[in-house]
Amino acid sequence: MTGRQLKIWGIAFQGIVAREVLRFIHQRERFLGALVRPLVWLFVFAAGFRAALGIAIIPPYETYIPYEVYIVPGLIGMIQLFNGMQGSLSMVYDREMGSMRILLTSPLPRAFLLVARLLGGVVVSILQVAAFLLIVRLYGIDLPAWAPLTVLPALLLNGLMLGALGMVLASTIRQLENFAGVMNFVVFPLFFLSSALYPLYRMEEAGPLLWWLCSLNPFTHGVELIRFALYGRIDGLALAVVAGSTLLFAALAVRGYSPARGMGSRAPSAAG
């Protein structure tokens, strides 16, 4: 690759990420929504639940922890989950399909364009997480001082995985056209069948089937990756599962937008 080509890719990459960030900044309701959701869980659900649920000392924690501390990584995961799905949903709507066409008629390679767009969404989700962590700290929940930095790579990877999953859904499942559908069939199962709200050993007590489902859920591993990263540690299994799932979803997403599968194929049914 020549220097000139590299420069062109760099310009395009910057432009795509900048657009996602600009869109996010201009949509204040979206920003508030992204923050209010996890905060409600933290202030209301976790506060009520702490009395009911005791948590044994499990890694990465070294002492008994209040429930609010346990739930923080899960809520960070939730922010990224919603962000990834929102991206996919807006793509499903025709208005967004339009902007997808503008993206895909750029002369740069399609896989590069899609990955850049994906990273743009991840950057937005990291901004949301940063705001959430700030409030968490003000609320008085103790996290290591370096947590916002050590968690960054985990956020990047988890965000990529969920964003790619969103793209796959947007390109393959035509019926998933409203938010209720995505909530019922994607967000709720991924979130509740994970270690976001309760540790896996609790699920094992509840039943082997539930435990299996939770263990197989890639979102569980995303949450665990974040949980360990907040304490400056790496969960090897989680890292492997999240990295593997990211590659798989990204490959499927790129395939989903290939001309052979016809991303324009929806238009003619509606118009001439």
Binding site: I8, I16, D94, P259, G264
Partner: protein, 254 residues
Amino acid sequence: MTVPALEVEGLRHSYGGNRLALEDVGFRVMPGAFTCLLGPNGAGKSTLFALATGLLQPTDGRVRIHGHDIMQAPGKALAELGVVFQQPTLDLDLTVLQNLRYFAALHGIGRREADRRIETELIRLSLFERRGEKVRALNGGHRRRVEIARALLHRPTLLLLDEPTVGLDIPARRTLIRHVHALCAEDGIAVLWATHLIDEIDPATDHVVVLHRGRVRACGPVAAVNAETGCTTVAESFDRLTAARPTADVEAAA
């Protein structure tokens, strides 16, 4: 010999199932020519656009833009192509300038050069003083003009417009049509303008491609097509070519 800005050859497409959306479609658009792609709803215009922009892979046949095959050399072909899609594709919450800068970046145009070109295009379309406004604040006609300015930023040799006047009032339509004709005449850009509105054609200068049920029924300068059908106006030719049994009618007329 001049390289055609757009060359469509033996193009066939089916969305699975038996019915062909396009059947053996072929025509050329030469540099500086304003060509109207005429066809009733369901004729296959949008399919043709999806194929010409590389968003869809044809079942058979090829599309070349300035000599580059859209499937084999998509990068080179797309660099020569400007598109205005039927549905709006601007980000409503971003300003005109932000929308245009985003597009310039997609084509690898650096910030300084992009701003220079954006200024030129916006001045031409009398929108320069509105560059800082959010697109949401613009009316339909102005939004379309921004989309045309955007489609020209990377200096394409071919401009595709898919029913660009849908939803516009008459003055906005006239402005748009006049502007795009000027692009052909002054800059030598080739234009393929899909429409089902006959009155958007200038019979003196324009070429037409009549598409009906996935087939090209006629193509060429307006006068030649009228002579072929034995009609005096494009509207009559169009009615005859898109009638229930067009082929027989044409043969009878010829």
